[in-house]
Symmetry: C2
Subunit: 347 residues, 2 copies
């Protein structure tokens, strides 16, 4: 991929670490990597107690290194966001086999003394993808070359990363030169680069977004993973910095069917789709007067095929815009991709 | 003052340090403290080379300590934002006299080895007002008791702090229980508390704004110093986090006559006042549906009295809102204060 300006480049390919988990939802990161960066995943490695599998070959760190792996990725979440004591011997084994360790957990690997000492001793790196680069400038607002697409949402956690990845894949399928630009830890592991927007100091957040999407060739597309929502009382600042800093030519609004309240903040309704489109246009025009909405990515999980088809059709009729569920794909998704590429028309 | 929840409380009163500067604009912090926290300033202390004065008594640290001073405040800015080597003996002398040192400079006092060693040796504190508290939570959006006023701007550096300080003073004059809530380093030194919003990690920026303006008595007003502008391509995220986190009942829009371009980003026009009021209302309603604009604080520096009077009258006629220059005060300012307190009417 064309690198961003953050200077981050993760060691690859990966061996996915599943720890000792017995419930699949905790392995969201590992599944995300398998699905979106399968070519970078040599296999999986787990403790004997683990009952979860990604379906990739189960390998020892030595075997994985022999097959080319250069990093062990912590592919699971823990309740406290910290390294579990039971993992230490396995992580040490990975470092002894020659692998660096990549983590997106809340607590830093280096804060574990045993791990830190082993890494120093073995000359391995402990890489925290939640740590932003130290050289982020204040945003300048300068117009950059190339095209930019941003996924935005009516709320958090409803498909902005998935949509950006699916759009990148679809654009490439059409022969378009496109890069997924990661703004969160899982996305960074998938793409091997990116900036964790939520961890950047507020004054530099828009600067981070500019750094993430540098000048590019006229036909090139940066497809940027959105964060939070401009309607989210906790994270709206991050979302606005990302909108102003990426200067998107096009945005795709992400929503989940039935999400009527902000997740975890039940007194706040989610906005209507029309309201969300309108406010993103108003705010986005500040740094890109040509900004337009290509359409809606509608998360229809939990609906039957028939229900989903009806739901998508209803929204399409209401908004006069392409509406697709990237998980279901189909003709609707192709229409959404075409709308992203259209240089004229649409609100 | 009623403390915010940040836990910060600076040692006071102050001795103002002017270093060796010879140009008054570099002493903005010292002048701000003299003007807005005069009761807290025992005197000034400068190197022999300095030709600038605040008009306060010139004292040695020993004399200032004897008169009650408990901290030396770095009252001047330097080009690089760092401690000058020539200052070190004076700062050491202050610590020897019993004073802690308070700095709002970009580089940390503690990064100067000589100062750090002296502070440890003498048992004095080196206090960096640019460092936010470490316990800032993610915002919850919970409605809090008491009233809140936020100053917002069409750009940076046109009077948001001054306006908030002047409004706090005017409210108190009317017997209203009001506190100035500082969000930048000079404001923090003036009030002895506050949070430097620009230094908070993006995900916690709205949480910092909530922490700054906790539950209060029904008749109490928090008057919050705004930061940046939602129209500023570099800092809009900070401004939106502050707007959503403080949940203002009232905002006052600050503008400077003739400021037609964003400072330092000349390709971006400042918004019209009408546009700025409208967008703050739309965004602010997300966390406070009752938000209203009390009026405009217009910076008329550089205009003659006659010109200023005409300018203020023109804007008043155009916007149908109180428009005042707090530096000039007068009946217009009293109208603006009354509009802040009005519970009904106005857009």
């Amino acid at each position: 991929m064309r690198s961003d300006a953050s200077g981050r480049a993760l060691p690859q390919p990966y061996l996915l670490f599943l720890g000792d988990i017995t419930e699949a939802p905790f392995a969201k990161t590992a599944f995300g990597l398998r699905d979106w960066a399968g070519g970078l995943c040599i296999g999986e490695f787990a403790l004997a107690a683990s009952t979860v599998t990604t379906g990739l070959p189960r390998l020892t760190p030595q075997e994985a290194y022999a097959r080319g792996a250069r990093a062990l990725v912590i592919g699971v979440a823990t309740r406290g966001g910290a390294v579990m004591p039971a993992w230490i011997p396995a992580l040490r084994e990975a470092m002894e086999a020659g692998l660096d360790i990549i983590s997106g957990m809340h607590s830093r690997l280096a804060d574990n003394r045993e791990l830190a000492a082993a890494a120093t001793h073995l000359g391995r790196k402990l890489i925290e993808v939640r740590t932003p680069p130290s050289n982020i400038p204040v945003a300048t607002g300068r117009k950059r070359t190339g095209k930019r697409l941003l996924t935005v949402g009516t709320d958090c956690a409803l498909g902005k990363k998935y949509t950006a990845l699916a759009l990148t894949r679809a654009l490439r399928k059409r022969g378009i030169d496109a890069d997924f630009r990661a703004t969160g830890q899982t996305g960074i592991m998938i793409s091997g680069a990116g900036i964790p927007m939520d961890a950047v100091v507020a004054d530099f957040a828009a600067g981070a977004a500019e750094m993430l999407t540098p000048d590019a060739a006229a036909g090139h597309w940066d497809v940027v993973e959105g964060q939070g929502s401009i309607f989210h009382p906790s994270y709206s600042g991050v979302s606005l910095a990302l909108l102003h800093g990426t200067q998107p030519d096009v945005f795709v609004l992400c929503h989940e069917v039935g999400r009527e309240r902000i997740l975890g903040l039940e007194t706040f309704p989610t906005p209507t789709l029309r309201e969300a489109i309108e406010l993103h246009l108003i705010l986005g025009r500040r740094t890109n007067p040509q900004i337009r909405c290509a359409g809606v990515s509608l998360n229809t999980r939990g609906l039957s095929d028939e229900q989903a088809t009806r739901e998508l059709a209803n929204w399409r009729a209401e908004l006069h815009l392409p509406v697709a569920d990237p998980v279901r794909g189909g003709a609707e998704m192709e229409q959404l991709v075409s709308a992203c590429l259209a240089t004229e028309g649409l609100p």
